[in-house]
């Protein structure tokens, strides 16, 4: 993609990235309370969106299981946080989500995209029901208490996981694994006949994305004293990342980050100012975004940029 033309912009954005990185790293020491909580929430959605897009972006397979892996993280935190250190709990949650995703992927990724989508949707409901039944029979409770962490601890943990997620997504895109994924997305049959192990490539990517979702879940859980299956496996955590990715644009990694940030913030404002109209306005914003920005915010900016520059890219 015209690497020579954009090296200057690339250097600039790298510097900008560094500034943002440092700012976000020291943020809790500068401010307190609400902003840190809001940013933790934004980072959570960055993780879910980028984790989701790692797999869905290149392959075009829409997974609706994000909430399942995220909720799994909740329960890992409920069980292990306290007895085990916070960092270990996050890792356990990641591994648990990874393993479950491998199993689910092995079962479903032979399916075509539409069936895969429906199955993953059912998976959230399935796991939620299973957890609810197990709790009813074994612990005879509805919810659980979670050992809490401080606002700052949760923020930093979320920040580290978010950086790891972005880094992983970036490295995958650049690697041969990324090329394999993209070719699967563009022509699965040709990819198979060119020597790509399609099923394995898909399953592994799906599981890596899920790993980060589980971690995000474990961190958020420690900010809630009480969880139950309804909270842990809320559909919002499944659908919002998909919408955020569409809203931000899926052609590169900045898209989902911007999508997650803007969407979370808009959601926050709407929820506090117009709690009754929240979903309605949200829906209208989304429809407008899909109609007028088919490639998301990033796509829109790129289009405008290209028009201003007067078509730098050579016509095909």
């Amino acid at each position: 993609m015209g690497t020579n033309t954009f090296t200057k912009t690339k250097g600039l954005s790298l510097g900008l990235l560094l500034v943002v990185f440092v700012f976000l790293a020291v943020l809790p020491t500068l401010t307190q309370g609400y902003l840190t909580v809001l940013l933790t929430d934004i980072l959570k959605f960055v993780i879910l969106t980028v984790g989701w897009m790692m797999f869905a972006g290149p392959t075009g397979y829409i997974s609706l299981a994000t909430g399942a892996f995220y909720g799994l993280g909740f329960y890992m935190a409920a069980v292990f946080n306290g007895p085990l250190p916070f960092a270990v709990v996050i890792i356990i949650a990641g591994v648990a989500a990874f393993v479950v995703a491998l199993l689910v992927g092995a079962l479903t990724l032979r399916l075509r995209a539409a069936y895969f989508c429906i199955f993953t949707f059912a998976l959230v409901l399935l796991i939620q029901s299973v957890v609810m039944e197990v709790e009813r029979i074994v612990t005879q409770t509805r919810g659980r208490f979670v050992e809490t962490e401080t606002i700052e601890a949760a923020y930093w943990a979320m920040f580290i996981v978010a950086v790891a997620t972005l880094l992983a997504a970036y490295l995958i895109r650049r690697s041969r694994h990324g090329l394999a994924l993209q070719s699967i997305g563009e022509y699965e049959e040709a990819a198979a006949h060119s020597g790509i192990n399609i099923v394995r490539t898909k399953i592994v990517t799906f599981a890596v994305g899920s790993l980060f979702m589980g971690m995000a879940g474990a961190i958020i859980a420690t900010r809630r004293a009480y969880i139950d299956p309804g909270i842990a496996f809320s559909m919002n955590n499944t659908f919002l990342p998909v919408l955020m990715a569409m809203f931000g644009g899926m052609t590169n990694l900045i898209g989902p980050v911007i999508g997650a940030a803007v969407f979370t913030y808009i959601g926050e404002i709407l929820l506090t100012r117009f709690p009754d109209l929240y979903m309605l306005i949200f829906g209208v914003v989304l429809i407008l975004a899909i109609v007028f920005m088919p490639n998301g915010i990033v796509g829109l900016v790129q289009d405008v940029w290209r028009k201003l520059r007067g078509g730098r890219r050579a016509p095909a």
Binding site: R176, L179, S183, E186, A190, H193, I196, A316
Partner: protein, 243 residues
């Protein structure tokens, strides 16, 4: 010993028997032409060899190993590469990266990115697409896309190359070039099986021709024998009349 051998290869789609009890073999270093009227089962046979489909029943052996149960990507890594009748490229991926898919994943061994790239560039050089290697593959003309597919197949270091109507839709000059390319590929030690409707080409460069009709193998032999075979002539004249 044959390089590739099929025994009683059969495949049905609903009530239609696309390939019916076909025995065939391909020897090392041959160019084998696979001909027959439309719907004769040629492409289905390719799909069965490359494991896009599984024969039911029937067995396919490659270097005396039963490859019938293997998935498509393993068949490719073992050294059987193919092109498609309707081109199947990765349209939004640059031409060079398209070919690198073949060299990175198709050779059956761990390969460095640098080596994969030089292999891909070499293959692009061979099909004369070096000048467009940075364009998205979808921007190429159909004839170029066909050459791109050939390059991707070659980049996977095949020992056996299955070409499905490589010459369809090409101008006479391009057909001559394609014929030269195929002869050159063979001289590098790659065995070729080609499906083709361009008769002058297939008659000229094939060592042996297999004729399919309604899923059955009706004849097999040298181009000269096939040209004189009454059954083959009947099948072909029949088709010419319809067309």
């Amino acid at each position: 010993m044959h390089l590739l051998e099929g025994q009683g290869v059969t495949r049905q789609f609903g009530g239609l028997t696309a390939v019916s009890d076909v025995d065939f073999y391909v020897d090392q270093g041959e160019i084998v032409g696979l001909i027959g009227p439309n719907g004769a089962g040629k492409t289905t046979l390719f799909n069965l060899i490359s494991a896009a489909l599984k024969p039911k029943p029937g067995k396919i052996f490659y270097k005396e190993r039963d490859i019938t149960p293997l998935p498509a990507y393993k068949i490719c890594r073992m050294g059987i590469a193919r092109t498609f009748q309707t081109v199947k490229i990765f349209p939004n991926v640059p031409v060079l990266r398209n070919v690198m898919v073949g060299s990175l994943f198709g050779t059956g061994r761990r390969i460095s990115s640098a080596e994969a790239q030089s292999k891909a560039e070499e293959a692009l050089e061979f099909v004369e697409l070096s000048s467009v290697k940075d364009l998205p593959a979808g921007d190429l003309t159909l004839a170029q896309q066909k050459r791109l597919e050939l390059a991707r197949a070659l980049a996977s270091d095949p020992e056996l190359l299955l070409l499905d109507e490589l010459m369809a839709g090409l101008t006479p000059t391009e057909v001559t070039e394609a014929m030269e390319a195929i002869t050159q590929i063979r001289s590098r030690g790659v065995t070729v099986v080609m499906i083709e409707h361009v008769m002058q080409a297939i008659m000229k460069i094939s060592d042996r021709i297999i004729v399919l009709d309604y899923g059955k193998k009706i004849a097999e032999g040298t181009p000269a024998e096939m040209a004189a075979n009454p059954q083959v002539i009947e099948v072909y004249l029949g088709e010419e009349c319809d067309a």
